[in-house]
Subunit: 346 residues, 2 copies
């Protein structure tokens, strides 16, 4: 089955959900262009989720995707928080931040019954998950209106597990991909494969459509992914300069610069491994620091640093999410980019 048949779309292009840098505007533009627009929901309250879904409903009658994280929230660990804040103390001093004002809380909520209730009002055609899948009763809830279910795999083992749970398609998230890695069956980062190796092996091993993601940024990349047997692609980074994305000015500037040649997986901004452009915090603490608390608990202590630095026009403390191929980033309308991505296909 082609991805277009599975998802009832024209072009085999999913716009990757990217929390923090896009909302309904980008999703609407991509869906209207014939791809599958995605709304990242990991940082949306139920009310905000409803508001975004209402906007999408008004903006398009095409299928769209809503994406949720489904991590198991870690136990609060005050000692780990204290150690993390102690490591960051020189930066609080530098930026004149009172650490006692740091908010607590996770910042990202896994998919839950409240979110499911909101979705039921809108019955989105596609629901995708990151970090595995939610509990069976929640997944059954999503299936109740016939939504197609996708999730990301970063290893063959994860892909086989997702297939065993009855997903409709698997996103092969290669190591090149920007943002959070969907890794969920292991913490061993040496298991993570490049898009080329991962896509080909998932295609060979699964009886499901495989959607390639990571490093795909132009029409030739899409064509190559299809040659590997992918049913379609998921593209994120290339959309970051589109006017419909909410990417910050600082983030846009970095993406358009030579600095974007060097990305790394980092756990500094959330606690979980995610790929972004190497910046000052990553250089000084190392992109992966053992004192960063469990995902997503690292976020709160970084937030005031990020806010203060960004107010001064600096991305030194910002997660500058990007994949390993930023050559596709162009300040063009998302509809144009979507059509260009699919332009080399028959």
């Amino acid at each position: 089955m082609t991805m277009q048949q599975l998802l009832n779309i024209e072009l085999p292009v999913i716009q990757a959900p990217m929390a923090g840098v896009q909302g309904s505007d980008l999703a609407i533009a991509v869906s209207n262009a014939g791809g599958l627009g995605s709304l990242p929901c990991a940082m949306l309250s139920p009310d905000a989720l409803r508001a975004e879904l209402e906007k999408i409903r008004r903006g398009t009658d095409r299928p769209f995707n809503v994406n949720f994280f489904c991590h198991t929230p870690p136990e609060p660990d005050p000692q780990a928080d204290a150690d993390w804040q102690a490591l960051l103390r020189p930066y609080y001093t530098e930026l004149a931040i009172d650490p006692s004002t740091i908010a607590s809380g996770a910042g990202r909520t896994p998919f839950n019954a409240e979110a499911l209730e909101v979705l039921k009002e809108f019955e989105p055609a596609v629901v995708s998950f990151h970090f595995g899948l939610p509990a069976p009763e929640l997944l059954d809830g999503v299936r109740s209106w016939g939504a197609k279910i996708l999730s990301s795999a970063t290893t063959l083992e994860e892909a086989l597990w997702l297939q065993s749970q009855g997903v409709d398609g698997v996103i092969a998230q290669g190591l090149e991909a920007g943002g959070h890695r969907g890794i969920f069956l292991t913490r061993d980062m040496t298991t993570q494969m490049g898009t080329f190796a991962l896509t080909r092996q998932l295609v060979a091993a699964l009886n499901l459509p495989v959607i390639a993601a990571g490093g795909i940024a132009d029409a030739a990349g899409v064509q190559a992914a299809m040659a590997l047997g992918a049913a379609g692609v998921q593209v994120g980074t290339a959309y970051l300069l589109c006017p419909e994305a909410s990417t910050s000015a600082i983030h846009r500037e970095v993406l358009a610069s030579e600095a974007a040649r060097h990305t790394a997986l980092t756990n500094l901004f959330s606690g979980g491994p995610a790929r972004g452009v190497v910046n000052r915090l990553m250089r000084e603490l190392g992109p992966v620091n053992a004192l960063s608390p469990a995902f997503p608990l690292a976020t709160a202590a970084i937030a005031p640093l990020r806010a203060a630095a960004e107010a001064q026009g600096s991305g030194d403390f910002s997660p500058l999410w990007a994949g390993q191929n930023t050559r596709g980033c162009k300040p063009v309308a998302a509809a144009q980019l979507t059509r260009e991505l699919a332009s080399a296909l028959d």
Copy 2:
């Protein structure tokens, strides 16, 4: 220019040079099948090099490639050697090895004037390098008989540097690739890109043929690499089970097993980062251990452990080099594999 035109071959497939698991037999078979066979020379003495080249000359009149390392040998560091051997001491005890019998020496010699003199007797059509390029006078020597010169790049910066030095083609060695990474302008492993992202960016930035390597293991992979704009591919892992390779029985068994799903970059076997199947030594010391001496000085202390374990039928201490996609490994003649790799091209 196509790679076939550049190298005067029929099929755009280079068999990757793989020291320790192949010699002239594999190179001859691949060249005779229309690809470019490669002789790994990093561990050959001048006499052994001459003997292998004589065999190739007898075995084929087609072009072939000779591959050399061109690292700068590190200063001997007795303290580092002692620390490394101290870390390995429990294994010496377990395998009843007297550490005082450990040979010293590097095990791998960079390309030098002696090797050049041997090459002049044979004038191989292609000479490829790993870890950059040799000194200009050595490179001029190679150019003297019109050999085409290739070298590996693992980042855009390395590729641009190689182009500035006048190489005839650049091998884009993606992170998926097995064996030693050709990284030479930095030690920062976060710079290393997946094949998908690296190939596409090198194709866009260079005025030279780009040869994709890493994770390419079958006809669809070759087709995908060409869709990314590669002029050809370099394939190693898929050849490891061919009868013409000298891959050990232990290595073959691992490659055909599920263990091969999990490879990692490790510095334990030579001191330099190289990708192999995760085995006991890598699990117990971590695939990357700070006590491993500089490349290639880690080799000598591992050698007796490897020999003793292999004599017992164990690969616990062997470098089980492999890329991230071992699905293409098949016990078929190298000629057949070469033709299959090119079979999806027009």
